[in-house]
């Protein structure tokens, strides 16, 4: 797989283009690349072929959500918010980090990160 | 519908009266995990390979310890055992009151491995 690199600025614009091409939203993978950066890999599908787009972000950056383009993205973006502490803009519905962990103490932690980050509004 | 009703009257029942009639176990069923300690060298390969970390081997004291309640019955240890002394019986674990681990030593061997039947 060869992910195409994108930036957070062009993310939503390109997503619109991808949608206009008739692609289907598959999922988003978040992974921790270094101590301070995360990578979001967006997976799309068309004619049985997967397309990958990678966005590298610093940990405290607010990422524009894909929800206005692909409304199905809300679940996976909420999951990433829970597990990695990434904040998404225009997320609808926004569970604010309580999708899996409810209102327990875990909400302030980012359990899927090797190097913990303090949440902005934890 | 009448046909179905009559058919159900004469056809045998689909269930088994369980404790009275028990279905014989299949030959390859992975039941309880046993160790025929007479062939065991306490090498610890099973403990290393086990995905649920239910086996602990003490090479110095020559003890083989199994927590049957963490075991997931995957049979990885049986495949990996170089001495071929680990095996699964065809019976499933019975219900117990207390979770007691199985500890086997050379002096205190477990079951003997049965001879393989005709293939």
């Amino acid at each position: 797989m060869n992910p195409v690199d994108m930036t957070t600025e062009t993310l939503r614009q390109q997503a619109k283009q991808i949608k206009a091409d008739g692609c289907r939203f598959v999922t988003v993978t978040c992974l921790e690349e270094t101590e301070d950066t995360l990578a979001l890999i967006y997976h799309f599908e068309k004619n049985l072929e997967l397309f990958h787009y990678r966005v590298r972000i610093p940990k405290d950056k607010v990422v524009p959500s894909l929800c206005p383009v692909f409304s199905a993205a809300f679940l996976v973006e909420n999951e990433i918010r829970d597990q990695f502490g990434v904040t998404f803009e225009d997320l609808e519905p926004d569970f604010n980090g309580t999708l899996y962990f409810g209102d327990s103490d875990v909400v302030t932690a980012t359990p899927f990160c090797r190097f913990g980050v303090k949440r902005a509004d934890g | 519908m009448i046909r179905t009703v009559f058919k159900n009257f004469v056809s045998p029942r689909a269930t088994r009266p369980y404790p009275i009639e028990v279905r014989p176990a299949f030959e390859h069923t992975r039941g309880e995990l046993e160790n025929d300690v007479s062939g065991c060298t306490f090498c610890g390969v099973c403990a290393k390979k086990c995905p649920s970390a239910c086996i602990t081997v003490n090479r110095k004291e020559k003890t083989w310890r199994l927590d049957p309640f963490s075991c997931v019955y995957c049979g990885i240890c049986v495949d990996a055992c170089p001495g071929e002394c680990l095996f699964h019986t065809t019976d499933h674990k019975k219900v117990v009151l207390h979770k007691i681990p199985v500890v086997l030593t050379k002096e205190d061997p477990g079951l003997e491995k049965p001879e393989p039947g005709p293939a």
């Binding site: 598959v26 899996y100 962990f101 | 390979k49 049979g75 495949d79």
Partner: protein, 358 residues
């Protein structure tokens, strides 16, 4: 009348697994549904830090009990891609046989639960009775009834003897006869149709846009089955994806019923063509690189993303399960239907919550 918010689940008679839905209802009609998850979240993806890549097979099998074989197969395929291992042809056929057996027993389980959700208890019993034969096949060939644990990196751990193949064929004939006997009850019955036709309609466009997967997508008229990717031995076994155009609960049920019969046929053909030879390739070294791949599970497409850095432990394992993809379509299906139909519609996507949360 003003809106009322009704909690649905996590404990509900029709739900085999815990999911919570906040239903905003106006009189008896649902206006909005908001899901809440987290009752069975186990953090299995993060176990890659504690279990090495061989042991992870047994972990991914436990993501979802009922499609355990497919999870392990997808994971092993990913690792094999990273390590450039060529799986022997016989192992590829055996993987197809076991995975299709899993599809049959998962669909039969679901058909039973589905019948139960609209109160058809006797059909529920019938389907589960039929399913028992498949469980016996699993136990006799692989050792366990559900989590068969037959996969390993490089091939399979068990083999089928000719006499076992013959016996499986015999059992599948019985399954097919018994299924055909209740086909009309499931697909042509007045009561069943009354409870399912037109309930929870998902249009073709919505299904595509919301990323629905598996029978939910095919029930809306889109022929998309990941088995078309021809993975393992499927390149030799041609088949047509089952498609229904209704987009309602009935269509999704019909897709699954027909897929069960199709899978029986696939297992038969795979057994007839089963080649000889080894069942596993030798594995040396450690995986390195990243890959994303998909297989078709009973509930739909499942995507694995694997990133390895050449050590015993994987860097990142991401599992996108079919139910995870089917929850946004579910929230789109529910508005507009009556409260009494909510259980039927929720079950019609075959929700597997332990899959979803992992």
């Amino acid at each position: 009348m003003s809106n009322t918010i009704l909690p649905f689940g996590p404990q509900h008679p029709v739900l085999p697994e815990p999911i919570h839905l906040s239903l905003t209802v106006e009189d008896e009609v649902v206006r909005q549904a908001v899901p809440a998850l987290g009752y069975v979240h186990r953090g299995l993806e993060m176990l890659t830090r504690k279990k090495d890549f061989h042991q992870m097979i047994q972990v991914v099998e436990r993501v979802c009990g009922i499609c355990s074989m497919m999870h392990a197969m997808c994971y092993c395929r990913g690792i094999e891609t990273l390590m450039d291992i060529e799986v022997p042809r016989r192992a590829q056929f055996l993987r197809v046989i076991w995975s299709e057996l899993h599809r049959i027993h998962s669909h039969l389980l679901w058909l039973g639960l589905y019948a139960d959700s609209f109160g058809f208890e006797s059909v529920f019993m019938q389907f589960w009775k039929i399913r028992e034969r498949i469980m016996d096949i699993n136990e006799a060939t692989a050792g366990n009834r559900v989590i068969v644990s037959v996969n390993r990196v490089g091939g399979v751990r068990r083999d089928l003897s000719p006499s076992q193949c013959w016996w499986i064929g015999e059992q599948l004939d019985e399954v097919e006869t018994e299924l055909k006997a209740i086909e009309s009850t499931m697909l042509d019955n007045y009561t069943v149709k009354k409870r399912t036709v037109g309930k929870g309609v998902l249009t073709k466009e919505d299904a595509w846009e919301l990323g629905a997967a598996g029978p939910t997508l095919r029930g809306s008229g889109i022929a998309r089955d990941m088995r078309e990717l021809k993975y393992e031995a499927l390149d030799e076994l041609e088949f047509e994806p089952v498609v229904e155009t209704g987009g309602d609960a009935y269509a999704r049920g019909a897709v699954r019923f027909k897929e069960t019969l199709q899978s029986i046929d696939l297992v038969r053909r795979a057994m007839a063509r089963l080649p000889g030879g080894e069942t596993a390739a030798k594995v040396k070294g450690k995986p390195e690189g990243e890959t994303a791949l998909r297989v078709e599970q009973p509930r739909g497409e499942c995507m694995y993303y694997i990133k390895a850095d050449g050590s015993r432990f994987l860097d990142r394992l991401r599992i996108r399960t079919p139910t995870f993809a089917n929850i946004p379509p579910l929230t789109a299906m529910l508005p507009g239907i009556e409260l009494a139909d909510v259980p039927v519609v929720v079950l019609s996507i075959d929700p597997c919550i332990s899959c979803t949360e992992r």
